[in-house]
């Protein structure tokens, strides 16, 4: 146990280190991208600073993911309660179905009604990333054996105690897995925001594609990938401490 914990700390620190180093050292990018693409006159996206793009991107991701996590787990929990059960089938079918719609389509639908910019992007990302969270929350809670619920009630737990002492501790791994998948995908999907003027790491990518400059594309993509890795590591650590503290409350 302790070994695993230390290793996860180390990988978190290493990734964070590389990440910060790259963000604030544009000369490294110049050098690296210049070596890979010697024929390009410009290898670093000139019209915005990387930290600025990253900040925009993080805000997009954090706003949409935070909302998705809160709403998604709540919906998952609600439809597995006695009163919410009638909705369970519909909600889990819809969350599976909606996953097949590409985020660009969601954007295309959202722009006419909400307009360009930050808001429609966050909305699209929210709608898209809530799905794996709902689905995993439902799957996790539904996988808790009925006899355990019966035992918990039979021993005199209230419904809320059954949820916090039995159902959540036993499904936290699956729920967190859903959240991690959702956030990682969200970091990638958020690059779409650049299309409708929400900025973020998609900006150099789109610009690179338009101007046929692969160096710009790589700059945005590498940073986004590192951000995804970094957030995934943070969530992995959260999962561990969360399941530990849930165990303690029992």
């Amino acid at each position: 146990m302790a070994g695993v914990r230390i290793r996860s700390w180390i990988s978190l620190i290493v990734i964070a280190g590389i990440f910060l180093f790259l963000i604030f050292n544009m000369s490294v990018w110049q050098h690296m991208l210049g070596t890979i693409f010697p024929n390009e006159s410009e290898v670093v996206y000139p019209r915005a600073q990387l930290p600025q793009l990253l900040r925009e991107h993080m805000i997009l991701v954090l706003a949409s993911s935070a909302a998705a996590i809160i709403t998604g787990t709540s919906i998952g929990i609600l439809v597995t309660r006695e009163r919410g059960r009638p909705w369970l089938g519909i909600v889990s079918d819809m969350s599976s179905l909606a996953q097949t719609i590409p985020p660009v389509a969601v954007l295309a639908l959202a722009v006419p009604s909400i307009g360009f910019g930050f808001k429609p992007t966050v909305l699209a990302l929210f709608l898209y990333s809530i799905l794996p969270i709902i689905r995993n929350t439902i799957t996790g809670i539904e996988s808790v054996p009925g006899r355990l619920i019966e035992a918990a009630l039979g021993l005199g737990m209230k419904r809320s105690q059954v949820l916090f002492k039995v159902e959540l501790p036993l499904s936290i791994k699956l729920i967190m897995a859903g959240i991690r998948t959702s956030v990682v995908i969200n970091v990638g999907t958020a690059t779409v925001g650049a299309v409708v003027g929400a900025g973020g790491l998609g900006t150099p990518i789109i610009s690179g594609l338009v101007r046929e400059n692969p160096a710009f594309v790589l700059e945005g993509a590498i940073t986004a990938a590192l951000l995804a890795l970094f957030l995934d590591q943070i969530l992995a650590r959260t999962e561990q401490s969360l399941s530990r503290s849930l165990e303690k409350t029992t």
Binding site: R147, A151, L153, L155, G156, M157, L170, E247, T250
Partner: protein, 372 residues
């Protein structure tokens, strides 16, 4: 005391429990017995409000269970289910401490109580307390399930096929232990099973159910001796007399056994035994461990070698313990083709014997009453 008054439970058109009235006295083990689907579990769950009846009332100590919040009611009633239902994310100790914790006991008090319960169910607290349920054998898990139900010392215990998930041998051991613990604790117990022998072994009274109704409510002896109708008669089976033996521990009809040390004068000992009317003389070694027997009806000459006189026996296969049932004793006699088996204690030391003739007397009583 538990009182069920005109309890009916319907699922749509289907009546799972049909107008049942029942009293369970303080300190009594009442077994709900019957074929699958006859409504045993439903009846049980109505008592602690896991299910609400369509009609009728349940009174505990004269108070209607409806006047309590379900969760508060259940914390005062121990509950054991068939597949144990230990929580896999909690240690065994934490599992046992659940109800005390719900009741807001202090930590010290909970851990002291947990330790007590481990001792009660015959498991070492130091060894088991921090284990997780998946590390337990089936029998251990079932014991923990019982300990968990007893944790807050509830006056009432509801058990739904509590020993259903283990092999027959372990089940018999658990039943024996339960009877012993119950003698000490004197809880008011409602015990569900579809296993007749289990019912006979643990019950003070049996409620035999069929299709949601009570067919016969009586002591095991009376049900075996006077089955009320064909259903009961068929349910009990043709070997009622034999089944009655499950009700008697060996200690009930065990008698003193003549014993001789192998180093003593066997010839003299055999002669003295013969006079007292015992047929077998049990031979033990210097460590008082049982070696075999001497058949005293056989002529023993003074000069015979000891090895020729003593019939060696596989003690562990033949001997019974005093808390075994007479049925087990009988099956050992039949398996080995002998008429007397030795009774030993935990250390395999002989403490008595039990004979076929004495077992027959029990079965005759039943056969007799049936003919009347």
């Amino acid at each position: 005391m538990i009182k069920l008054i005109d309890i009916t439970k319907k699922y749509g058109e289907f009546t799972a429990v049909d107008d049942i009235s029942l009293k369970v006295k303080q300190g009594e083990v009442c077994v709900l017995l019957g074929p699958s689907g006859c409504g045993k579990s439903t009846t049980l769950k109505i008592i602690n409000r896991m299910l609400e009846p369509s009609n009728g009332n349940v009174l505990i100590e004269g108070k209607n269970v409806r006047d309590f919040k379900p969760e508060l009611l259940r914390r005062k009633i121990g509950y054991v289910i068939q597949y144990v239902g230990l929580f896999p994310h909690m240690t065994v100790g934490e599992n046992i401490g659940i109800v005390p914790k719900l009741l807001g006991w202090e930590k010290v008090k909970i851990s002291r109580r947990t330790e007590q319960l481990f001792t009660l169910i015959g498991l070492d607290p130091g060894f088991y307390s921090n284990k997780y349920p998946h590390e337990l054998s089936g029998g251990e898990a079932q014991r923990i399930g019982v300990a968990r139900a007893l944790a807050a010392d509830p006056p009432i215990l509801l058990m739904d096929e509590p020993f259903g998930a283990v092999d027959p041998l372990t089940r018999e051991i658990l039943q024996t232990e339960f009877v012993k613990i119950q003698k000490e604790l004197k809880k008011t117990v409602v015990f569900v099973t579809h296993d007749l022998e289990e019912a006979i072994r643990v019950a003070v009274r049996i409620v035999l159910m069929q299709k949601g109704r009570i067919v016969q409510h009586d002591t095991p002896e009376n049900i075996l001796a006077h089955p009320k109708n064909k259903f009961v008669h068929d349910f009990i089976g043709a070997d009622r007399a034999l089944k009655r033996l499950s009700r008697f521990p060996v200690s009930n009809i065990m008698r003193e056994a003549p014993v001789v040390k192998s180093s003593d004068d066997l010839f003299k000992a055999a002669k003295s035994v013969d006079k007292r009317g015992f047929r077998f003389l049990w031979v033990i070694d210097e460590n008082e461990e049982l070696l075999g027997w001497i058949d005293t009806t056989r002529l023993i000459r003074n000069k015979e070698k000891k090895e020729d006189v003593i019939t060696r026996i596989p003690v562990s296969r033949i001997a019974v313990r005093s808390d075994f049932t007479c049925k087990t004793a009988l099956s050992r006699m039949l398996a080995e083709g002998i008429k007397v088996v030795p009774v030993v204690d935990e250390n395999q030391k002989i403490i008595g014997e039990i004979s076929l003739a004495d077992i027959e007397k029990i079965t005759e009583e039943v056969a007799h009453t049936w003919q009347e």
